[in-house]
Every structure is written in structure tokens, then in C-alpha cells.
């Protein structure tokens, strides 16, 4: 084999890589927050007594789970301007990814809600809590703790999916890699760096999640 690994050529692009990592972080974090909040709202809707709310949330989840993220992203990025809605690529990326991840988040949070025994409802009702107070102080904290582990795996998935955002001109780490690869003609090294970066990235997410999980873990 005559191929010589050469990382030195890439050193001139280190700033670009760094900015790519920062952008990936921004997109992932923003999308996590959006998907988490949407996930809670959707889970409540899916469990509600209101038929319309249930239907809407059900449709939302099914559509998002059964379509590719790339198409959802293009739908928002290229589709919305036709209605005169112009949003910058970063916002579209964050929101689209957040919406995409809200579907699996909804399902795991719902599983947490379903795991709550009626005993807890009765115990808090017997103390005098209203339904809303019961939900806020008892049901939601318990179910979010129960859902935390699968939520983490959803978040890891979200970080990985964020790479698709390069296709709407976002210069996150994948976008940077495409550009650098074209300029330097060193795809093997570049994508090796990318694989390692993503591994470290998701490892960091799991590491933080584990630390949190240790503090909030519950047994029913």
C-alpha cells in the first residue's frame, strides 16, 4: 500500500473544524430543548381524555416517525419560503431536528406516564392535591425520571442525526468535512476525524446523562 496518512495538511483547517464542532453543539442542544418540551406536551396530549388532542398528537408522532429526516428538513427549508416564510438555515435546522426528535421523546415520556400506579394519584388526591398539582408535583417528576434512560438514547440519536443539517448549507462538523475534503483531497483522514468526533460527542452526552441519572434514579 502506498497510501500515507497525512493529518498535517489538515492542520490549517483546525479553526474551521472547531467552529463546526461548536455549531453541531448548538444545533444539538437547541434541538434537545425543543424536542424535550414538545415531547412532554405531546405525551400529555396523547394521554389526554380529549379525543382531538389525542388524534393530533398521534398523527404528529406517526408522520414524524415514518418519514426520513432529510425530507422533513427540506420541507421546512425549501417549502416554507413558498409561503413567504423566510427563516435562516440555523433556525430551520434546530427547529426541524427538535420537531423530528419530539416524536420518540413523546413515546418514552408517555411510557413513563403509563408506568405510574393509580396509588400515587390516590395518595396525592387524598392529601388534597388538585389534578394539576398532582400532575406537576408527583406524576411528571416520577415519569420523567422513569423515562430518563431512554430519553438519553434519543438524545444520542439526535446528535448523530444533526449531521444531516449540512444539506441545508449549515457548516456544522459534517459540512466542514465536506468542504475540507473537497479542498484538501484527504477524505480518509477527514472522515476518520469525524467518526472520532461524533463518538466523543455522544460519549460526552451519555457521560453527563449517567451523572444526572445517578442523582435522580428512582425505584417504584
Amino acid at each position: 500500500m502506498g497510501y500515507q496518512l497525512n493529518f498535517r495538511v489538515l492542520s490549517q483547517y483546525s479553526d474551521l473544524f472547531l467552529s463546526g464542532i461548536v455549531l453541531t453543539g448548538k444545533i444539538s442542544l437547541g434541538a434537545m430543548v425543543i424536542s424535550f418540551i414538545l415531547g412532554i406536551v405531546l405525551a400529555i396530549m396523547r394521554q389526554s381524555k380529549n379525543k382531538i388532542a389525542r388524534r393530533i398528537a398521534g398523527l404528529w408522532v406517526e408522520v414524524l416517525r415514518n418519514t426520513p429526516f432529510l425530507i422533513q428538513l427540506f420541507f421546512f427549508y425549501y417549502g416554507l419560503p413558498q409561503f413567504g416564510i423566510y427563516v435562516d438555515a440555523l433556525t430551520v435546522g434546530i427547529v426541524a431536528l427538535g420537531i423530528n426528535a419530539s416524536a420518540p421523546n413523546c413515546e418514552v415520556i408517555r411510557s413513563g406516564l403509563l408506568a405510574i400506579k393509580t396509588g400515587y394519584y390516590e395518595a396525592s388526591a387524598a392529601l388534597g392535591f388538585s389534578k394539576l398539582q398532582n400532575f406537576l408535583f408527583v406524576v411528571l417528576p416520577i415519569s420523567l425520571r422513569l423515562a430518563f434512560k431512554p430519553l438519553t438514547s434519543n438524545f444520542v440519536n439526535l446528535v448523530l442525526t444533526s449531521s444531516v443539517c449540512y444539506s441545508i448549507t449549515l457548516m456544522e462538523i459534517m459540512g466542514v468535512a465536506k468542504t475540507v475534503s473537497a479542498r484538501s483531497n484527504r477524505p480518509f483522514e477527514i472522515y476518520l476525524i469525524l467518526l472520532i468526533s461524533y463518538t466523543l460527542f455522544t460519549y460526552a452526552v451519555s457521560f453527563i446523562a449517567k451523572a444526572i441519572d445517578k442523582r435522580i434514579e428512582i425505584r417504584l
Binding site: 396509588g119 390516590e122 395518595a123 387524598a126 392529601l127 392535591f129 398539582q133 408527583v138 416520577i142 425520571r145
Partner: protein, 258 residues
Amino acid sequence: MAMIEVKNVTKSFQIQSFDESTKKYIKTKLTVLQDFSVDFDQQGVTVLIGPSGTGKSTLLRCINGLETIDEGDILVDGMSVRDKHKLKNIRLTCGMVFQQTVLFPHLNVMQNLTLGPRKLLGMSMAQATDKAKHLLNKVGLISKEKARHFELSGGEQQRIAIARALMMDPKALLLDEITSALDPEMTSEVLHILEDLAADGVCMIAVTHEMVFARHVARRIIFMDKGAVAVDADKDEFFTVHRKENERVASFLKFIGE
């Protein structure tokens, strides 16, 4: 006026069962309480006994508003359980402890005790903590204030649940077979706590099969049978006169080994 007035209450449940001959599910109505009336004063301990399925637990749950009633009315301190806006006050007036211990699993013992008073009675954290410590002392578990529910035995959990109900300063405690899921040793530790509370003058209405408790602590005993009050008597009278004269009472007491 009695503190709790149960007036001509009828309560039934829809039960779904499978009919083998038609291969269909059929709904049947099971009437648990039929035109049921009884009064409770805010005095001492009243024990509800009787065979399974006679509506003892249902009665307590109706008083607390956990079950809705079909007919009649229940007044707690003059407030009707039919009035949804009064439900919170009714539940503050009557604390309840269940057979299955349900300490909130995401909170430790201290947080379990202080959650209610802080959110519902507007107590400050310091006030609530003081009160909780006082009650934990009373149930003998002050050393466990930081413990989580899975670090406690069943009896300890039940004692915490009693303390949690007392945190709200209820006028009466409704106890729904709170020792039925416990082994004899833990049962006796819970009953000791209840005896202490009774000595302090806490009003309790208890569904129980613990005759020892009934003998030692009860002031009044209500024997329920088939959704109605069969005997409503003073404790001494119940264990002497009614035991001799009432065949149903005699056979029940004999059956549970009294």
C-alpha cells in the same frame, strides 16, 4: 352535628365479566352500599369490621371523595362530597392512609412529609421541616428523614404514610386496612403508633381485621354486612352482648379467630 354524616348513600360498581354461553362480555352492576347511613363524631377511634366485600373500604373512599356516590349524600363538616369545589377541604379535613404504602418514590422521607403542607397550606420550608421532625419523632423514625422509600420496611413506610397524613392537621384519619399487607411484627409496630395517636386524642376511622387493635383502642365498633350496618355499638357492648346475641357477629369473630 356530627363531623361526618353519611346519608342514604348508594354506591355501585360496573363490573365486566365474560359470559361463557354467549361468548360475550357483559356488564353487571354490583351494589356495594345500599341506602347506607351512619354518623361519625370527632371522638376517639371507630373501627369498621365485617366480611370482605361489604363496602367498608368503599365507604372510606366515598367519604374522601375518591369514589363518587350514586345516590344520597355525605357531609364532612357540613361540606358535601358532591360539591367538587369542596373536595380539597374535605380531603384536608379527613386524611387517609391506604393498604398499599404509596410514599412518593422521587422524594425522600422528609420531602414526602413537607410537600403537602408547603404546597397546600402555604407553610414555609422551615415550618414544615419542624413539624415533620416532630411527627417523625412521634412515629419513631426521626433517624430516617433522609431515607428513600425502598430503604424502609413496609411497617416503616406505613408509619411515614401516617405521619404524612397527620402533617395536614386533619380532624380525622381514615385508615383503610393499613396493616393488611404487613407481617405480624410490622403490624404491631404500626398498631403501637396508632395506639399512641389515639391516646393523644386523634380521631380515627379504621377498617381493619386486627381485633387486638379493636379491643384495645376502639371506642365504637361498626359491624358491616352486605352493604349495611349490622351492628353499631360501643366496644364493650360489642364484644359482650352482641357477640352472644348476634349470630352473624359471633360467626364472623369465630371465623377470624377471635
